[in-house]
């Protein structure tokens, strides 16, 4: 039997491909064990939302919220704007609400610091663009992150109109002052953002930033529960949201 060089290479290639496919196929054959259910104490909602009372907000309060959030989630503190990771922080009013800007904004608003975070939009562009569904919108409205699946392409950062997302440009661990052992850290190369404290909701607790605000500056609850505090606040007060013209339907409401 004489085989010429081209045919030999072709046969070797096909053989290797079949071998790899068999190996991959064989590894999917494993058993399953047990069953799963949600935490007994978990808070549930049809539509989580947040109302932030800017009239009560101060820079110190925002710093306190950010401190609580970042501590609870092992968010690293980098002292340079390049590597910075933040889930919630303060922005001047005219940066947070460029569409509301006018030259004669009332005094206390014009100089106000506004806490900004992921808006957990109803129609999130970041979810639409994620190629691996590492970020998705849950039934209860939370735009969630799966840090196991994220490939670090940063398309979601590009798509977010609010600048809510941060990327781990380097290993975060050296910059975490005090690691909270009940929550994992992230690894270099994945995107992260606020997840409405889904792990605390699963224990029936309020989000960390809400608890850190002692004056009730941030209220969190179920928008579709007509008796919830968020619904009452929205019925009573005029609220604004960020960049509403884009069609994202953000679910963070600001009382001005």
């Amino acid at each position: 039997m004489s085989v010429d060089r081209r045919n030999f290479i072709k046969m070797a290639g096909v053989g290797a491909a079949i071998g790899l496919a068999t190996k991959a196929g064989a590894s999917t054959l494993t058993g399953k064990s047990g069953s799963y259910k949600p935490d007994y104490a978990a808070s549930t909602a049809h539509r989580w939302a947040m109302v932030i009372d800017l009239r009560k907000m101060s820079e110190e309060t925002i710093a306190g919220c950010a401190e609580a959030c970042h501590k609870a989630h092992n968010v690293p503190r980098w002292d340079n704007a390049k590597d910075e990771i933040k889930w919630i922080w303060g922005e001047p009013y005219h940066n947070a609400f460029p569409a509301q800007e006018n030259h004669h904004t009332k005094e206390d608003l014009a100089h106000k610091m506004v806490p900004v975070l992921c808006n957990h939009c109803d129609n999130p562009p970041c979810v639409r663009v994620c190629p691996t569904q590492a970020t998705w919108r849950r039934e209860d409205g939370i735009v969630m992150m799966d840090w196991h699946r994220c490939i670090g392409c940063r398309y979601c950062i590009t798509a977010c109109p609010y600048g809510s997302r941060s990327f781990n440009w380097r290993d975060p661990r050296p910059a975490i002052e005090e690691i909270d052992k009940t929550f994992p850290t992230r690894v270099r190369g994945v995107v992260e953002k606020c997840t409405f404290c889904n792990e605390r909701l699963a224990r029936g607790e309020q989000p960390a930033c809400v608890e850190a605000c002692e004056g009730g500056e941030i209220v969190f609850g179920d928008l579709e529960d007509p008796n919830s505090e968020v619904r009452n606040l929205l019925a009573e007060h005029f609220t604004i949201r960020r960049k509403t013209g884009l069609g994202t339907q953000p679910e963070i409401y600001y009382i001005v």
């Binding site: 494993t30 058993g31 399953k32 064990s33 047990g34 069953s35 799963y36 259910k37 949600p38 935490d39 007994y40 978990a42 998705w136 849950r138 969630m144 799966d146 840090w147 196991h148 690691i179 052992k181 009940t182 994992p184 850290t185 992230r186 690894v187 889904n198 699963a202």
Partner: protein, 127 residues
């Protein structure tokens, strides 16, 4: 065959090199050694049967990951009805509290380097 001497010598050398782990292990006298695991005190069985865990703990962990992160379920009900909170750090490593005396023993022996520890915290901070 052209250059038969060179080719056959080459094949023999190649076979020796490629089987070197086998005869090196035999020669070193440690070929029968298997990793010794220190089991947690007080517990006799894990969240599932030992034979299942030995073969498929990574599959179980992947299922736990998907259930907690993607399906919002945090409680695992084992085959024998016990309930556990699904967490690598807070449940698995709660019992298997010293990673170096348990997890690492087999992982080092088989040269497996799971990257779970990049994110999931090891109590006692050995990672």
């Amino acid at each position: 065959m052209y250059d038969a001497g060179k080719i056959i010598t080459g094949i023999v050398v190649f076979l020796l090199l490629v089987t070197s782990p086998v005869w090196y292990n035999l020669a070193s006298g440690h070929s029968g050694d298997v990793p010794e695991l220190e089991l947690p005190a007080g517990e006799t069985v894990c969240v599932a049967e030992t034979s299942f865990m030995r073969a498929a703990h990574m599959n179980l962990l992947n299922q736990w990951r998907d259930e907690v992160v993607r399906n919002e379920n945090r409680i695992y009900v084992s085959e024998d009805g016990r309930e556990f909170n699904m967490s690598l750090t807070n449940t698995c490593l709660d019992c298997h509290s010293d990673k170096t005396k348990f997890c690492d023993r087999c992982h080092d022996y088989t040269m497996v380097d799971p990257y779970c520890w990049d994110c999931h915290i090891v109590p006692g901070g050995t990672n």
